[in-house]
Symmetry: C2
Subunit: 195 residues, 2 copies
Amino acid sequence: MNTTLFDKDTAITESVLNTIAHMPTTSLPVLMADDFAHRLSDRDFMRIAVLLAHKGYNEGGCPIGAVIIDNSTRCILGKGHNTLVQESHPYNHGETSAIRDAGRIDFSHTTLFTSLSPCDVCATLLYMRGFSRVVVGDITSASGNEALLRSKGIQVDILEDLNGIELYARFRAEQPQLELEDWRGVAATDAKKEN
Amino acid sequence: MNTTLFDKDTAITESVLNTIAHMPTTSLPVLMADDFAHRLSDRDFMRIAVLLAHKGYNEGGCPIGAVIIDNSTRCILGKGHNTLVQESHPYNHGETSAIRDAGRIDFSHTTLFTSLSPCDVCATLLYMRGFSRVVVGDITSASGNEALLRSKGIQVDILEDLNGIELYARFRAEQPQLELEDWRGVAATDAKKEN
């Protein structure tokens, strides 16, 4: 008996991907069996990362999300989004959030999908934890650390998601100080200069 | 009326510093008024970082601690210790733990005391968040990123704590695989090679 919500005949729609994005990682087996995970393409995983970015935006936070999958099974091992605002967390970006969610696993057989090009801290964490592959969904809004990751032996693929790029551009226009804090800390913002 | 436990006449003993180490940061005003914090020396703050490392070790974790203080008031703004084991957290080192504890503050007027020389991720986070000063309590067990921090304009001081160095050496001898995982991830450990 198949006890999961999504099976081999389920169409992969935006609603299906958004349900996956919002479900706690440990509860994902409630949604999908392994054979369903195998049907998800790289573009689908990037959509989940972007839908996590939307979740963060809707919570009043910075819209960046990330998903980590096993290269063989395609199962999701970790996912998350930026929580600078939501947790008052000064460096929990999409990537750090997804890695924290995955916990103490061997990242050398995994791929991380991030909705935005990684910052220096996240790029360093990606090579220090031995990721084999990183897929970047937006090098239009920011870029630069792809070369560092490649120099460390990580396969880096660009798979831009136009909706994600649009969302990040909207956020940057609406909240430039928050965006600056997310990259460079309170020390870099006008709020500091005014104090 | 002075309602704090420690006042201007309290001797700064190991027990006093250990109580400070264990008290949640937001509850530190219960222990000490501002004038007490001013009496604590750099060496005292490093002792607190090392006592946090001992706390982590006693919990079965990696013994590295860190403390963040305001440069002017000398008040503790954040502190913590490595929680790789305790939280199954793949990158919560002493420094990341203390920065998470401090939250969304301006780190440009703060000093971070770490019981061990920072890894690549923590060193990157320290300059990305604009710390003005970092004090390192152990460059015997590990070192290397002091030069990077200085190149980013951060004042780096070495203030070795022999008890902290001894604790870290004991941990390294007892749990070499755990120590390796803490620096380089599961991908670098024997556990991975055996799978």
